[in-house]
């Protein structure tokens, strides 16, 4: 389906952020750790989370245009396969992902779009991969990990010439995400900073609706 392709990069980022598969952060005080240790820390941290919600600040740096767009909003997640993202005005948009089905509403009139991802890109599939310990590094990516005080940072560099040059996630051992950063090959950079993250609050289906 064409719309599936259109949002491939979006789904990739989504799966990555939700599955916490990737990430990185750099710090002058960072202590390098084995990539497997970093990945396993991420998996363990997430294992204790059934749902979470957080406020986010999203920044998009457009290298060519020399402009930065800053957006604020909310994210929610519930195992095994639900994700919600709402961006506040003036860039208001809302997105709900239920496994492989994405529904979005945005623009000045909140026009709705719906698309279905291939099953292998579904959220449930990604999380099922996190059910067991990480014993080997994923193929096709280079991974760096470091630990600064209690903050883990995973930096993933996909091989090849795809859109994403580098993806980084900073998180705590309890699964609290601090920041997700995506560096694109064209030099653009998108980052999502998580604040006021609340875990295991008992989110329900009503928290994953497209309607405000």
């Amino acid at each position: 389906m064409k719309s599936e392709k259109l949002f491939f990069s979006m789904s990739l980022c989504l799966c990555v952020s939700i599955a916490f598969v990737l990430g990185s952060l750099s710090s002058a005080q960072a202590r390098p750790i084995p990539p497997l240790e970093g990945l396993e820390a991420l998996r363990k941290g997430f294992a204790g989370i059934s749902d979470f919600s957080a406020e986010i600040t999203q920044e998009k740096r457009l290298s060519l245009m020399k402009r930065t767009m800053t957006m604020k909003g909310t994210v929610r997640f519930r195992k095994p396969d639900q994700f919600f993202l709402a961006i506040n005005p003036p860039y208001a948009s809302r997105m709900v992902l239920k496994d492989a089905t994405i529904e979005m509403a945005g623009g000045p009139e909140g026009k709705r779009n719906r698309m279905v991802l291939p099953p292998e890109q579904g959220l449930g599939r990604w999380f099922s991969k996190l059910a067991s310990p990480v014993t080997q590094l994923p193929e096709g990516v280079a991974i760096q990990a470091d630990l600064t005080n209690s903050l883990y940072t995973l930096t993933i560099t996909p091989q090849g010439q795809g859109q994403v040059r580098e993806l980084a996630i900073a998180f705590l051992a309890d699964g609290t995400i601090r920041r997700l950063t995506i560096l694109e090959r064209n030099g653009d950079k998108a980052s999502m900073i998580f604040k006021k993250l609340r875990r295991n609050t008992g989110l329900t289906d009503s928290d994953f609706r497209l309607e405000p």
Binding site: S9, S93, P108
Partner: protein
């Protein structure tokens, strides 16, 4: 679906985005009739509603008079979904996710061959304010390409235009920057009840823009003829 999006971007949306001096004119704005919009950069939020589908999105755009445009549409996670470059009749659609670009002219776009789009763009852009802010009312005149149009002014600013074939454009949420009146909200309708609404945010008017902003970066990108594009997703 993608064809329609393309059509709208390049025939309707893009023209609207390029819009520079238009206005809704409830309050009287102190503008300079001699000032012109040379460049524009702004965040963009848009909705497209047609008889059979629609789309919406947010992004960023830059424009330079008379006919250069670069529009970026973002995914909810802030990554780039599509970049659209146009200069005159040349069009490039760049899909970073697939490392593919489609290059051609508007005439190469799917469906009805395309120069109407640029005609429409220029029509939409032709919304210079009146010489006096005391100008109110509707008048008929030859449009920018000689087609008759009705233009409605409020306090000297163009608030709407229409043509006999059903094209209508409305300009609202005016402000003035550097003497140039600027409409932050545009809505275009046609006889088929297609409707495009665009809201521009944080506009910068007549700021210097480097030439590189309008040049697609195609290193390492597979380039295909635009005529091969079958939808908004390659």
């Amino acid at each position: 679906m993608f064809k329609q999006m393309l059509k709208h971007f390049l025939k309707i949306i893009a023209p609207l985005l390029l819009l520079t001096a238009c206005s809704t004119a409830r309050p009287i704005l102190d503008y300079n009739p001699e000032a012109t919009l040379e460049t524009l950069s702004a965040a963009v939020s848009m909705s497209v509603v047609t008889a059979d589908n629609g789309m919406s999105g947010s992004g960023f755009m830059v424009y330079r008079r008379p006919d250069q445009l670069h529009l970026v549409l973002l995914s909810p996670f802030g990554t780039t979904l599509i970049e659209i470059f146009s200069r005159g009749e040349q069009v490039t659609l760049l899909y970073p996710g697939n490392a593919t670009a489609y290059v051609g002219t508007i005439a190469d776009l799917p469906e009805k061959g395309g120069l109407q789009g640029w005609r429409l763009m220029r029509w939409v852009m032709d919304a210079a304010p009146a010489a006096s802010s005391a100008m109110n009312g509707t008048l008929e005149r030859p449009g920018v390409q000689g087609l008759p149009e009705k233009v409605t002014y409020e306090n000297g600013l163009v608030v709407s235009k229409s043509t006999a074939d059903g094209q209508q454009v409305y300009y609202s949420r005016y402000s003035v920057a550097g003497g140039v009146p600027f409409a932050a909200e545009l809505e275009l309708r046609n006889a088929r009840e297609d409707r495009i609404r665009i809201v521009l945010d944080e506009p910068e008017i007549n700021s210097p823009l480097e030439e590189a902003v309008f040049q697609p970066r195609l290193e390492g990108i597979r380039i295909l003829p635009l005529s091969l594009l079958r939808g908004i997703t390659p």
